[in-house]
Symmetry: C2
């Protein structure tokens, strides 16, 4: 099928770009040095490509992602890098034979893990981003609490989310060092094999972590595109021009097809003015006609993919595979 | 079922609030004076409530919404208030017995309507928002072109989208008058019964239109909440507190559960700091514990609903109905 036959808006994944990104990351962080984060693509078919590149351990953000990965046969070592108040669905995944490790940052979340039937945890440590994670000094106490309740503590995690997007590499390095100093110290109190941290923006900077939780590298977006990383833009949103006025044009790709928290998308077709629910208004860089197709690059990959039900893998203008975005929802 | 049993994040619709909004709008704009826009809720069960309130004509933003409304038995008079380059799917909906009117703003979109099997159109006129719509002076010529090709021209539409959100009512009134002066003049050139325009922010201001295309009024959001309209906030996102730190707390409701183009959501539980993919970080207004539930109010209803697969209708803390968000996608 040619991309012209697709209903728009549609998510396109450039096959060569994806393969480049997977290969570049697998060379830099082979095997278990990378624990790919599936939240960026929410697609078990893409996760299988990551597994084929040598990564057998995965990071998830939601219970639904853990369930979907296990159901797809990718449940060898799944980390839910997020706290939950009710782990019963995760306990069922464990009972069905998958390995699930759950992030915990409080006695309440440890008790929830135990009550739900999860047997392995990581102590989530706040390394500077005001989100989840215990205070570094509390990590040892929480590990003791977990072990006291019969749980296996595999180590620590701590996400330097306030650092991964900094455009200045020197600043990223300095701030990562500060964050990881906290995490390494907490790890000394906690024990276990794993120091899990990092993201696409710090994949080659964070040398303190034993494993990196990067996800965006596979598809990329304009925010990470500013960082000079060795990954190419593999994801675009295909849109159709539906209206042409003197001075601007409109394509059928709007707020419901794009994550907007990092701002407007970009397009080679011209300068983006604004997005509405189902529209992208832009100033074309060359004359366009109704029916013309344009490629739009999202500012933030994760919430963009979450709006779509499929990724269309392309080789030039040929659609070679359709991958369901099967890890949506919670 | 009690709301405590719901997996979070979950969209809740307060039944009394919804009924209030539907009744208030039906009193102000009875029957065909309102052509409810389904893009805000994407839910045929909710559209059936609007039909029960007396509205039998509907506005859609996507081909998929038209197909879904027709399949749900709500195809008496559907307007796709948007241009398409390929109307063949709409032609099949017409062939199956629904009435579909399509917005056109160029010879190309008129030709697409004709080629696809759509027989009725509205001429979409630009009334000040740089998006779709022909120049007002072109409307008569396009109507002639459509009639020459055997299409029925039902009138004009023109969306004052640059006006509906203005917080100052006097300004909204002035700018609506300017926009509608253009539309009424175009209508004189085009003919037909319909002058279709307006939105929730101008529902009682736009007296030039024969029908108003409001949609957000049913559920509401914080952006429209600033306008002093007679509609109450009926939609909330239910979230669970998963982490509590000194100074802030985190709930499991993030960028993939909220449309973010109008900025951060709000919550009675405290001051919102920021959203991440699956997290809302906020400063609680009173002590919270892991497992506590909070209600989050989205800044923009349309792209929020589009992330979810169901609306849970509630009476207090009791879930009385589950409505699929069945008009998602394109």
């Amino acid at each position: 099928m040619n991309v012209r036959e697709l209903q728009t808006p549609a998510l396109l994944v450039d096959s060569a770009g994806l393969e480049h990104n997977l290969a570049a990351m697998a060379a830099a962080l082979p095997g278990e040095r990378l624990r790919p984060h599936v939240k960026a693509h929410k697609c078990t078919a893409l996760a299988k490509r990551q597994a084929a590149a040598g990564h057998r351990t995965f990071t998830c953000a939601t219970i639904g992602e853990v369930e979907g990965m296990a159901a797809a046969g990718l449940g060898e070592d799944l980390l839910l890098a997020n706290e939950v108040a009710d782990a019963s669905r995760l306990g069922r995944v464990v009972a069905d034979g998958a390995r699930v490790t759950l992030a915990v940052d409080s006695e309440a979340t440890i008790d929830a893990a135990k009550a739900g039937g999860v047997t392995e945890v990581l102590v989530d440590v706040n390394v500077g981003l005001p989100r989840c994670g215990c205070a570094p000094d509390d990590a040892g106490r929480l590990a003791d609490h977990a072990r006291h309740h019969g749980l296996t503590v595999r180590g620590v995690m701590g996400y330097e989310g306030h650092v991964v997007g900094l455009e200045d590499r020197t600043k990223r390095l300095e701030r990562t060092a500060e964050s990881m100093e906290l995490l390494v110290k907490a790890h000394a109190d906690v024990g276990g094999d794993l120091i899990s941290a990092g993201g696409t923006g710090t994949f080659d900077i964070n040398t303190w972590a034993t494993e990196i939780q990067a996800g965006s590298y596979a598809l990329m977006d304009t925010a990470y595109g500013k960082l000079g990383l060795p990954f190419v833009q593999a994801l675009t949103v295909l849109a159709t021009v539906i209206s042409v006025s003197p001075g601007w044009a409109v394509a059928d790709c709007g707020l419901k097809a794009l994550g907007m928290d990092h701002g407007n998308p970009t397009t080679d077709a011209g300068d983006v003015w604004f997005c509405s629910d189902e529209h992208l208004t832009f100033k074309p860089s060359q004359p366009l006609e109704v029916g013309d197709r344009i490629r739009v690059i999202p500012a933030h990959v994760d919430p963009t993919v979450a709006y779509h039900d499929a990724l269309y893998v392309t080789d030039g203008d040929e659609v070679v595979e359709k991958w369901p975005v099967d890890l949506r929802g919670w």
